[in-house]
Subunit: 170 residues, 2 copies
Amino acid sequence: MKITEAKAQFINSWGALGSQWGINRTMAQVHALLLVAAKPMSTDDVMAELNISRGNANMNLRELMDWNLVDKVLVSGDRKEYFTAEKDIWKVATAIMYQRKKRELDPMMKVLTQLSNVETSGAADAEEVAAFTKAVKDIKKFTEQADKTMDTIIKAEENWFWSSFLKLFR
Amino acid sequence: MKITEAKAQFINSWGALGSQWGINRTMAQVHALLLVAAKPMSTDDVMAELNISRGNANMNLRELMDWNLVDKVLVSGDRKEYFTAEKDIWKVATAIMYQRKKRELDPMMKVLTQLSNVETSGAADAEEVAAFTKAVKDIKKFTEQADKTMDTIIKAEENWFWSSFLKLFR
DNA sequence: TCAAACTTTCAAAACTTTTTGAAAGTTTAT
DNA sequence: ATAAACTTTCAAAAAGTTTTGAAAGTTTGA
């Protein structure tokens, strides 16, 4: 397989994966492009490689910087901005976990906490309230554990994580 | 807070969460509705609660059954089909993990394996090929570990999981 | 200070996904 | 066998998301 073809396929699959997980397909593709790039790329490079507009390239590069997956780098003798992706996959994974937890899981946790206080307004809906309360309580308990686990992983060193994890599961 | 309000908020938040993670918002809402329901619901019940069409309700109920999150139940003396959600959150989480791994992660893994074989076609692209190969290799290695970890979690007993796993990660 | 080189913004257009609802299909009771 | 009760399908419409590109904004070097 040739490098051009291989790159295209990687970008394509990474884009599809992102898209299936609620990430803008183009953002994932830009990320993929930078992940496998040998050196920093400019906005124009990204535009040319992915056949996208300047606005689109700019927007997604900035979004990737917000996620701490991409950094600006200065190339001396050039006025353009260049971009590189974080290549350490453990760091990539924990950055994504951190962001998604913060943006999407934490708000759900907050709602679950609020919902733990429902009044039983009379005998009429006792059963309904009981079912609701139990479900919310269970989901909250699970989410709290998952939350703690994720916090640990986010802070963990890669080697420590894999080695202690593997010890448990063998 | 009143039960009706609380339910509505839970359904809303669960729907938003699903949506952010690439799951059809209505599918997540139907799931939420059934998760907190005191007893099985018919298609008409779901339609009425969520204000959605028959086609939409039917489609999402079937999809939830495909994910093994919802089951048909027979209510004697009624010709309609009724539906309940799996309420054990550990089972819910592992079912979701299993499905998403199978549908979305496994295909990526397959692509990564294929991409491990790229030719260095001359000295011109040596650097480019090296960067690509290293990135793909690293991602593949990480994904393999994550894969194994997920398989273990999916097969694990809830109690065993929380007791041994969380001793480490808290 | 100026203007060239570059980045950002955002309204409108293009595209994608979801929803609707009526028609077709299936099951069940008599 | 029939018809009522129900479920499924799917083409068209609606809603939601993404992309474009040109105008506005910013930075830099002479």
